[in-house]
Amino acid sequence: METKVLIADDHSIVRMGLSAILNKLQVKHVDEVSNCAQLMQQLQAETYTHLILDIILPDGNSLEIIENINNLYPNISILIHSMQPIEVYGKILKKYKIHSYLYKGVSEHEINYHLESFIKGVTMNFSKVIENDENPFSTLAVRELEVLHYLLNGYRTKEISTMLGLKMNTISTIKSVIFDKVKAESFTHLLQLAHVHQISY
């Protein structure tokens, strides 16, 4: 079966870079989407063997649709391509059928290596990284990570509630849970913790 790869990332240059590497790996069929809506449409329109998926997309968190993708397209191999270290999403990713995880901060060499392994069907072993509990952000749930993302990007409760379509009280509750779990005493402290643990925004 021909290898068909769909790249979902909001940055065109990222998608271009990934396509260049995949082309170098002899992958001829590479499609690109930039948001969740396009992703679901494209998956519906075309059958892909591999999906390279950024987590935070302009219209939502792709983690919320992974379960659907798993259910709808059980044969597609998924590589999460994220700005966050794997420790942050380790426990969450365990719930889904994820084949690989590529941190955007790694070297070109590693990018090439990970993509090649992914195309070749090598499944990543998450158990080692998931067991690393040193990072307090790894305890956060999907919704909490999503709210954390917007908090670190400077959005206020009202703005986050609007963007996520949730009530402000819900966002406030989630914020409290985040502060409790990472033991942050203030928003500044939360920022420092995020810096220390390389939580990208």
Binding site: H11, I21, S107, G154
Partner: protein
């Protein structure tokens, strides 16, 4: 001379119940001679005109009323009443001083007011401040009701009697005396005496004595009048013929005793077993004195005579007589020392002078002046030393026996022991041999210059005590040794020694008396006047009393009292002093002689004196055991006079000085009274009776007790009196005021607390307002900062998400396209894009790291990091940044090297250092290695690049002024962010960095990490 006249009386009952008293004379002699002392306005009386004299037998004071005031005499000093220093003001002149039937002494003033003597002072009688002359006076005297006496006015008399038939009074007028009897509210004359008759009353009976000595008794006759019944003629007893100026008067002492003065004779008159006895008290009354008042102290035999205008005469018995040399005349010494009693009763002393008045001849013993130490042996041999040598005189045979010049010394002290006569002199000890010769048995080797021996006494058969000018010595016969056993600290002469039943009394010249027994010597306490400091000699009388002579008179002490001092401790030695008031007119005695005091054949004792011999008979001296009483006469509070009644009230708190002036009764000499006081629990303080004042400075507030004790020195026990007084607390120290203090304190605390609360409240409100203001500002600032943070976060997010990642993939995309493009120009452009993208990625990444680290204060928990992997990833990551592909990146970290550190921070740190090396290295290699030394982990990054100067290396490490960096632009290829990140991380990770560089040779960077 002593004369006793007794009138035998027998009662004769007449029809009218007249009593005939038979009187017969008896003669006896007065026991003592008297000396009279005059007390006048110059020596203690306010005035010389005496208005009354009354002796208080109970309290033992003599009260003397003068025209100008009242004085109280206690035997040695006067206390005035009525003068400016008196507590009781007796306004006006005193008219009389009288005694009521109950013994109360009272006086009358010219203004008709009365005063009463109570205990120690005169008190104005408030009920009789003004009396209506004699009727009220009589009412008062006889304790009649105020309006009882209504009769005519009569005079005032000292002769008032209350007998079974009623009240009688004798009034003396210029010519005759009249007897008045109180009947039906008035006194009526019942008898008129003849001018040569004096009346008196004994035991309720009235008598008249004529100046010829005839005594009649007055009895009640018809019509209630008294009649005189001759009861006897007084036999051979003749009163002296009254001469002009002589006194013939009778003084009533009390209801049982009267005194008759006839010229110089004073008789006491009493009825004894029905017989009237006239006893001559003295025949030495002063002549030519108008004696108006007479009082007799029958314990001390002292006579007090109140004269009309010459003050008070005090007559005291003289128990001592001074015997002068027989041939005494001016210019010849009458000083006496060693005495020898002659057969005729005279006394010859060692100078040869004979004392006494015997006219019969007696052999002279001292044929020439001898030294003062003599001795009489048991056999009657008398030894003395004169210029001829040692002279032996046989007192029995009254002849000179021997004169020996064997021992050539002027002065010898002799003693007989073991049938041998020893002599002690300044050179040694001599002994009289059996052949009658004297021989020195011991020559002193060490005695001070001027050494002199005085009295000697044997302790036992082997030891002799010797008093000397160098203290007390002991001669031991068996050892033939003469050793000093005691020397007074003042070096006083030991002169007298007396063996009192084994207790040796030692008299010194200046240091008082010591007592010696069994090798122990004790100093005896001195009398309060220290008269005993110079004690000359001792002698024991028949009543076992020791008499001691001093320079100030004689002392007598019961011998048992002295022995008790030795056996029972200090205690109180009983003694009695005899001085001028006892008849010793020259007080200074002599001593240092042997014998000193001697007993005469008539029982008298003779002491050598500085002016004659003092002789007396101890058995004839009455012993007076009066207990003196002490009274507080005056109280001075801060120098202001108050009466002692003030002690009954609380005293003012303003007392600075409290002074008590005491009065001591007893009619004792001041030497015979000891007076001590103490306040509260202090120790006793002795004060002189002559200056009996007590001062108490700055007394404490509250209750006090003043204890005063007196002691007649002849008695061993003290009589203590206690006075309580209370000094008020000042109001601010009153115990009750403390409640007020407490209340005020509570109020102050409350007020203070309230004020402080209000102040704090106001401050709190101000602070709250200020805090609110500040909080508002801070909130605004915080909001601004938060916005800035959020903006910064957004910048970081944008840099991370929208710049850094796209740059990375831009580089990747450009490189891939470059590889596919053949056209050189395009290929070069793509290469340039790829390279620039990579450079921008590095710059962005570093800037991002710098921004993140800028807000970082501490790091999280360190982790075990696989250093080899970290370095491998870094070299992989930085590979694209090499200037020359030929430059080799070498990871020399051993595989499996783990260090405890912060992985991300380590990665950024190494990333920046490696990137610096890559930028400066065009050829050669860059190697990363590690060394582990104990707890230090070293990471070494070494390149073969262009290197740098020392100042540049220093700048890179310290970040100090770039001005110090030499030729900085030459080496400055970056923007400095990299090394800022390095310095921040080094500080955060508690690491250390060293840079060793040589230009054109390369650079070596060593990182030191502490491994916990």
């Amino acid at each position: 001379m002593y004369i006793k006249l007794v009138i035998n009386s027998k009662q004769v009952f007449l029809l009218n119940l007249l009593v005939l008293l038979m009187c017969s004379p008896k003669f006896s002699f007065g026991q003592y001679s008297y000396t009279f002392e005059r007390i006048n306005s110059e020596t203690g009386l306010p005035a010389n005109t005496i208005k009354g004299v009354q002796f208080d037998k109970v309290n033992r004071f003599l009260w003397v009323a003068t025209e100008s005031g009242l004085v109280r005499y206690n035997g040695h000093s006067f206390q005035s009443f009525g003068d400016k220093n008196a507590t009781i003001k007796l306004n006006g002149r005193i008219v009389s001083l009288n005694r009521k039937q109950d013994g109360t002494i009272f006086g009358r003033l010219l203004d008709e007011s009365l005063f009463t003597i109570i205990d120690n002072k005169a008190i104005i009688d408030p009920k009789h401040t003004i009396i209506n002359f004699s009727n009220e006076y009589l009412n008062y005297k006889y304790n009649l009701s105020n309006d009882h006496y209504t009769g005519k006015k009569i005079g005032i008399s000292n002769k008032d009697f209350k007998v079974k038939d009623g009240y009688f009074t004798f009034l003396d007028d210029l010519s005759k005396s009249k007897l008045f009897k109180y009947t039906n509210g008035q006194f009526d004359s019942v008898f008129v005496c003849e001018s040569n008759e004096k009346a008196f009353s004994l035991n309720g009976r009235f008598f008249l004595i004529k100046n010829d000595g005839k005594v009649n008794e007055l009895t009640l006759g018809d019509g209630g009048k008294m009649i005189s019944n001759k009861i006897s003629t007084i036999g051979d007893f003749k009163l002296e013929k009254i001469k002009p100026g002589n006194i013939f008067n009778v003084f009533q002492s009390d209801s049982t005793k009267a005194y008759l003065i006839n010229a110089s004779n004073l008789y006491s008159i009493e009825i004894n077993k029905g017989v009237i006895e006239f006893t001559l008290v003295t025949n030495q009354l002063p002549n030519s004195e108008y004696i108006r008042f007479l009082q007799v102290d029958e314990i001390t035999n002292t006579i007090y005579l109140g004269t009309d205008n010459r003050g008070l005469l005090i007559g005291r018995p003289s128990y001592f007589k001074r015997v002068m040399p027989k041939d005494y005349s001016d210019g010849k010494s009458s000083a006496a020392y060693a005495q020898v009693l002659q057969k005729n009763g005279n006394i010859q002393i060692n100078s040869g002078t004979v004392f006494g008045s015997a006219v019969t001849n007696a052999p002279l013993i001292f044929y020439r002046p001898a030294s003062t130490n003599t001795f009489t042996s048991k056999s009657g041999m008398f030894y003395m030393t004169n210029s001829d040598g040692i002279v032996s005189y046989d007192l029995v045979k009254q002849q000179l026996v021997n004169i020996s010049s064997d021992i050539d010394h002027d002065r010898n002290s002799f003693i007989e022991l073991n049938n041998a006569i020893y002599s002690f002199n300044e050179k040694g000890v001599g002994i009289k041999e059996e052949n009658g010769k004297w021989e020195m048995k011991l020559l002193f080797s060490k005695v001070p210059f001027g050494f002199m021996t005085f009295q000697v006494k044997e302790i036992n058969n082997n030891e002799i005590l010797v008093t000397s000018s160098d203290g007390l010595y002991k001669y031991t016969i068996s050892e033939n040794s003469f050793k000093r056993i005691f020397r007074d600290k003042d070096g006083a002469n030991f002169r007298a020694i007396y063996n009192l039943k084994g207790y040796f009394l030692l008299g010194t010249y200046g240091s008082g008396i010591y007592m010696y027994k069994d090798g122990i010597i004790k100093h005896m306490p001195l009398d309060q006047n220290k008269y005993l400091s110079f004690t000359h000699c001792f002698i024991l009388d028949d009543q076992q009393r020791i008499w001691a002579s001093t320079n100030k008179g004689l002392f007598m002490s019961p011998s048992q009292s002295l022995i008790d001092f030795w056996e029972k401790g200090p205690g109180n030695i009983a003694f009695k002093y005899y001085g001028k008031l006892d008849g010793i007119d020259v007080l200074e005695m002599n001593g240092g002689c042997s014998p000193c005091a001697i007993k005469l054949n008539n029982g008298d004792y003779s002491f050598p004196g500085i002016d004659g011999l003092i002789q007396f008979n101890p058995s004839k001296i009455p012993q007076i055991y009066i207990k003196p009483k002490v009274y507080i006469d005056k109280v001075y509070i801060n120098k202001v006079l108050n009466s002692d009644e003030i002690m009954e009230h609380n005293l003012t708190s303003k007392i600075k000085m409290l002074e008590f002036q005491l009065g001591v009764s007893g009619m004792l000499t001041r030497e015979d009274v000891m007076l001590e006081f103490k306040f509260d629990t202090e120790t006793w303080n002795r004060i002189s009776v002559g200056n009996a004042n007590i001062s108490y400075g700055n007394p404490a507030f509250g209750s006090h007790k003043l204890f005063i004790r007196t002691r007649n020195t002849i008695l061993s026990k003290w009589d203590t009196q206690e006075y309580s007084f209370y000094i008020n607390y000042p109001w601010y120290l009153n115990p009750y005021i403390f409640f007020l203090y407490l209340g005020v304190l509570v109020l102050l605390i409350y007020s203070y607390s309230k004020i402080r609360f209000l102040i704090y409240r106001r401050r709190q409100l101000e602070l709250e307002s200020e805090v609110l203001s500040k909080t508002t500002k801070l909130r605004k600032l915080n909001e601004g900062l938060t916005k800035r943070n959020q903006a910064k976060d957004q910048v970081i997010a944008i840099m991370n998400h929208d710049i850094l990642t796209p740059l990375k993939y831009l580089h990747i995309a450009a490189r891939n396209i470059e590889e596919k493009v053949e056209e050189p120009g395009t290929k070069k452009s793509l290469h340039q894009i790829a390279t620039t993208a990579k450079e921008l990625e590095y710059q962005t990444s570093n800037m991002l790291n710098w921004v993140k680290l800028d807000s970082l204060e501490k790091l999280p928990k360190a982790q075990n990091v696989d250093l080899y992997n970290v370095v491998s990833q870094l070299l992989d990551f930085t590979e694209p940044f090499k200037n020359n592909k030929q430059v080799e990146l070498i990871n020399n970290i051993p595989i499996g090297t783990f260090i405890l550190t912060w992985p991300e921070q380590l990665r950024v740190l190494l990333y920046n250092i490696i990137m610096n090396s890559i930028k400066s290295t065009d050829v050669g290699s860059i190697s990363i290695s590690s060394i582990i030394n104990d707890h230090i982990f070293e990471i070494i990054i070494e390149d073969t690049g262009s290197g740098m100067s020392t100042s540049m290396a220093k700048y890179l490490i310290t970040g100090l002024s770039k001005d110090e960096v030499e030729e900085l632009p030459k080496y400055k290829k970056g923007n400095g962010v990299g090394y800022q990140i390095i310095r921040s991380l080094i500080a955060l990770m508690h690491a250390k960095i060293e840079i060793t560089s040589k230009e054109m040779k390369g650079t070596k960077v060593v990182l030191y990490f502490i491994q916990f």
